[in-house]
């Protein structure tokens, strides 16, 4: 029988993988993906406690957490592209090339 404990253990493993990714990787996309892993772990955690407590609020809160994860993804990708643009502009300035 699969219970909430199984989901909690899986959520713990996902959270550990996400934290390791955030600490070990340097690539921005990889760090963002690792953060998304941690968000998925939180979603599983909320859902598991919802199952255990027979309460629908666990799932509802998990939906809100998902939306917060979407905010994080949008901001992260925007920051990544903004940073790359800035870096490219400064390299162009250093090389004396006109900005496109």
């Amino acid at each position: 029988m699969i219970g909430a404990t199984h989901f909690l253990v899986l959520s713990l493993i996902l959270l550990c993988l996400g934290l390791m990714g955030m600490m070990m990787r340097r690539s921005f996309i990889a760090v963002l993906a690792s953060m998304q892993l941690a968000v998925s772990a939180a979603v599983l955690n909320f859902a598991a406690y919802g199952f255990r407590l027979s309460d629908l609020q666990g799932q509802t809160l998990a939906v809100v957490v998902l939306a917060a994860g979407a905010v994080q993804t949008v901001l992260g990708l925007g920051l990544a592209v903004g940073f790359v643009r800035l870096k490219e502009a400064s390299e162009d300035d250093a090389a004396g090339r006109p900005r496109s």
Binding site: L14, A33, Q36, V43, L56, L75, G78, L79, V81
Partner: protein, 181 residues
């Protein structure tokens, strides 16, 4: 069917953890994104295993949006990020179509999906039992209206900010007679 649930759970758990390890060890951004997709799909299937249809749909939509954003950002950016798209588009199209099919099936059948009395329990509207999606959405727009509004407003602001960062500052209109130097 009851005997199949533990087997399915362990298979999906292994796939999800493998995807997580893929995120950790992959060097190419496209592989990282694909590994993340594997994780999101695995988590979605695990949630469907417990009849949490609404949450699974939310997970699918967020995953599809994340991948779509990666594609859009990669295409709009004139920089090296565009290399991210290289060789990734066909896979993304197939995965997107699969996600769309899952969303459609979930939306059609999920509204009437029966609960299991363990958090997916049915609630009633006017005496009629409703499915998991209706129950969660009703909870979302009553008890959780304030947090949902705050998060969605933040998402709106973040989208506008990200778009501005991606496209760069808007050009100011030049006055008449002003000469470009």
């Amino acid at each position: 069917m009851e005997q199949a649930v533990p087997i399915l759970f362990y298979c999906l758990a292994v796939v999800t953890i493998a995807g997580g390890i893929g995120v950790l060890v992959s060097r190419k951004p496209a592989r990282v994104a694909l590994s993340l997709l594997v994780v999101l799909t695995g988590v979605t299937a695990l949630l469907l295993l417990r009849s949490a249809v609404a949450l699974a749909l939310g997970q699918i939509i967020v995953g599809a949006a994340a991948v779509g954003l990666c594609m859009a950002v990669g295409k709009r950016s004139p920089t090296g990020v565009s290399s991210f798209v290289h060789g990734f588009a066909p896979v993304a199209v197939v995965v997107g179509l699969a996600f769309g099919a899952i969303v459609a099936i979930g939306a059609i059948f999920g509204v009437q999906a029966p609960g299991q009395g363990d958090g997916t329990a049915l609630t009633t509207v006017n005496g009629d039992p409703t499915g998991n999606v209706v129950a969660v959405v009703r909870e979302l727009f009553t008890a959780f209206l304030l947090p949902l509004s705050v998060v969605l407003l933040t998402l709106f602001a973040a989208t506008i900010g990200a778009r501005r960062m991606v496209l760069g500052p808007a050009e100011e209109p030049r006055g008449e007679g002003e000469v470009e130097v």
